[in-house]
């Protein structure tokens, strides 16, 4: 018997609740995420957003289709190969969406971050192939470079023409504010060699391609949907709030967690708990990401942590998401008292 809408909503609310626990190290992420999440719910029909995101994916993707996922936040001094928030989220969600729908993921990031993303994706169980093979091979993907300069426009058009993606997904990818300036989460100008992923999303919007944004601070692609709330609740939000909006926005305590939230909701909607990755895959991904020079974004150090939270916190989160999914799918149980 399939779950009814009320059961799905209850499970989704608790997935949302868990992935928006503010557990970060940061002085500029205190008392923020619950407000951003509430605003995102209000702007999108009430939520839960994990379920909204998962339903959106299921509506637009299926066998024979491709979808783009982009990530990558960096800084030449502290994060030369990218960070640990983003790649695990992309890897886990790419795997889950493929397992759930059969659609093929194509991944895009800064050329300097490709090695990090490839290593993390491999750890999640997706193979890396040349583009033309990746689009037709189950459980495989390809990682393509994304331009930071004035070649971005032509590149975006050629990627969209070549792969005809049915959806664009952004996870922890900085976008510019309405004045065209992009900022880090602490409100400082973003690195000059930041890939201009917004060009891809702008062009995608023009062509009517579905889009999904996941972020944790308000400066990431997608948050244009609730720019007023970012300005109201986020320190330096006036400056860092991005103009770039997506059709669906899922905020979380850390961007990876937003991706995991959608994964968990996919597992619930399809009643296939194995779609949600487990703690041992989480471990493999984080270790691979750090070994490939991914850096903890809150400390700028090469440590097994994401946004200042040590690996154990993420294993624990994944354990708890699995519990929500699996217990939520239990049916017909009756306690005798």
């Amino acid at each position: 018997m399939p779950l009814d809408d009320r059961q799905i909503e209850i499970i989704g609310r608790n997935i949302d609740r868990l992935t928006t626990v503010e557990a970060r190290i940061s002085d500029y992420a205190r008392g923020v995420i619950a407000n951003l999440h509430n605003a995102a719910c209000e702007a999108q029909g009430g939520g839960p957003l994990s379920v909204l995101g998962a339903r959106f994916v299921l509506k637009h993707l299926g066998p024979g289709k491709t979808f783009f996922m982009t990530t990558g936040a960096g800084d030449p001094r502290y994060l030369p190969a990218g960070e640990t928030d983003g790649p695990p989220g992309v890897a886990a969600l790419a795997h889950a969406i493929h397992a759930a729908t059969g659609a093929q993921p194509i991944l895009l990031t800064e050329a300097a971050f490709v090695a990090n993303l490839e290593a993390t994706v491999l750890a999640a169980g997706l193979g890396i192939r040349p583009p033309d093979i990746a689009t037709t091979t189950p459980f495989a993907t390809t990682v393509l470079p994304l331009a930071h300069d004035d070649t971005a426009e032509a590149q975006a058009a050629s990627y969209l023409d070549r792969f005809a993606p049915a959806m664009l997904i952004s996870i922890e990818k900085i976008g510019p504010n309405p004045d065209g300036v992009a900022h880090t989460a602490s409100g400082k100008p973003a690195a000059g060699d930041r890939a201009r992923a917004e060009v891809l999303f702008d062009l995608g919007a023009k062509r009517g391609i579905a889009s999904l944004g996941i972020g944790d601070n308000g400066n990431e692609i997608g948050f244009g949907l609730i720019l007023d709330a970012v300005r109201k609740y986020k320190p330096a939000g006036d400056r860092l709030g991005t103009r770039v909006r997506t059709d669906v926005l899922v905020p979380a305590n850390t961007s990876n967690w937003g991706a995991y939230a959608i994964e968990a909701a996919l597992a619930v909607l399809l009643e296939r708990p194995e779609i949600m990755h487990n703690a041992s895959v989480e471990r493999r991904m984080l270790e691979a990401c750090v070994a490939a020079r991914g850096v903890d974004g809150s400390t700028g150090r090469h440590i097994l942590a994401v946004d200042g939270m040590p690996a154990e916190v993420h294993y624990g989160l994944v354990e708890m998401l699995n519990c929500i999914v699996r217990n939520g799918l239990v049916q017909g149980f009756k306690r005798p008292f």
Binding site: R17, T20, V21, D27, K188, G297, L317, C323
Partner: protein
């Protein structure tokens, strides 16, 4: 600097995530019960409870910790929700505040309570030794039934002069004086420790009372009785001949509403750790594992499955240790700042 209410809200969020089965237990109720309580108190709940304890419990003062849910035949020695919470509170009182925990439960439920508390590093000793030193707890079996309970309640308060009383997953009576399971079945007052008399007596003497619950039938939930009657499936009418509500009328000064009562207790311990700036007041993952395993070995059953497995309310051991990890992270990060330089 000690943690503030922002961190308090994060602690509350962690302990109020509902992870129950899709069938067999009420669903979609926890956040509503939590919100009703949060609105009533106007503060993060665990933070509020910890702040009150910090204020009231001077070093060396006694604190009554009352727990023990269930009865035969379903749960002959009680359940795994309750004793681990009592262990966390006993440990936090001892390490964080220098308070002295006195454990109160039914005779049948006491072995898992003692096993859990000792697994958290707090030895349960006789009264002579308890008076002589810290780092230990006392255990008292409360007699069953209303008359004996009423008498015992006064005796405990006279004899131990507690600075506070904390109830964790402890059944309270409805408006007709009858106890119930969350699914509406009766729990005869004569077969239960009538611990609500302790709450009533303590309140009349101005002693701080804190209730930790996850359904509405536990001592303390009287604070949100009206809301809880609307939220719980058997909130207006139980399944027993009394035809009353399963929601208790028993109130405490502070109510902590959690997804699993243990978690509410862990949240209070986390807030004590944050307020005292002493992370050790919240037990660690290895301790949590030991507490649950010892508790089950002493006969406590998982309350959802009603079986002798290392779960709490249908959530497995790894979920309990994960919850402790998250709480430690929130408190630890709440106590520090970091300039990353970019």
């Amino acid at each position: 600097m000690p943690i503030d209410e922002i961190v308090g809200d994060s602690i509350d969020r962690i302990i109020s995530i509902e992870m129950r089965f899709g069938a067999g237990l009420p669903r979609g109720v926890i956040h509503r019960l939590y919100d009703a309580t949060r609105q009533k108190h106007g503060q993060p709940l665990c933070f509020m409870a910890a702040q009150a304890l910090q204020k009231r419990v001077a070093r060396g003062r006694n604190v009554l910790v009352v727990t023990g849910a269930g009865m035969p035949p379903g749960l002959p020695k009680g359940e795994t929700d309750g004793p681990p919470g009592a262990a966390a509170i006993a440990h936090a009182l001892d390490v964080g505040l220098g308070g002295k925990p006195i454990l109160i439960s039914e005779d049948r439920n006491m072995p898992p309570v003692i096993a859990a508390v000792e697994a958290a590093g707090v030895a349960v000793v006789d009264e002579g030794l308890f008076k002589q030193r810290g780092g230990v707890a006392l255990a008292i079996e409360m007699p069953l039934g209303p008359e004996a309970g009423k008498k015992a309640a006064t005796e405990y308060l006279d004899r131990y002069d507690p600075a506070a009383v904390i109830f964790i997953e402890k059944a309270g009576p409805n408006e007709k004086g009858v106890f119930h399971s969350i699914n509406g079945s009766v729990r005869e007052p004569k077969l239960m420790a009538n611990a609500h008399f302790i709450a009533e007596a303590a309140r009349s003497r101005g002693i701080l009372t804190i209730g930790v619950g996850d359904g509405g039938n536990e001592i303390g939930c009287g604070v949100i009785a009206e809301a809880a009657r609307d939220i719980q499936p058997y909130g207006r009418r139980c399944q027993c001949p009394c035809q009353g509500s399963i929601i208790t009328v028993c109130e405490t000064d502070i109510l902590v509403m959690a997804s699993v009562s243990n978690w509410g207790a862990y949240g209070i311990a986390a807030a004590i750790a944050g307020l005292t700036e002493n992370r050790e007041a919240l037990h660690d993952e290895a301790t949590e594992r030991r507490v649950i395993e010892r508790c089950v070995a002493a006969g406590a059953m998982d309350g959802a499955y009603a079986r002798l497995i290392p779960y709490a309310d249908g959530t497995r051991l790894e979920v309990q240790t994960s919850l402790i990890t998250l709480l430690h992270e929130v408190v630890g990060n709440g106590l520090r700042s970091y300039d990353r330089g970019f």
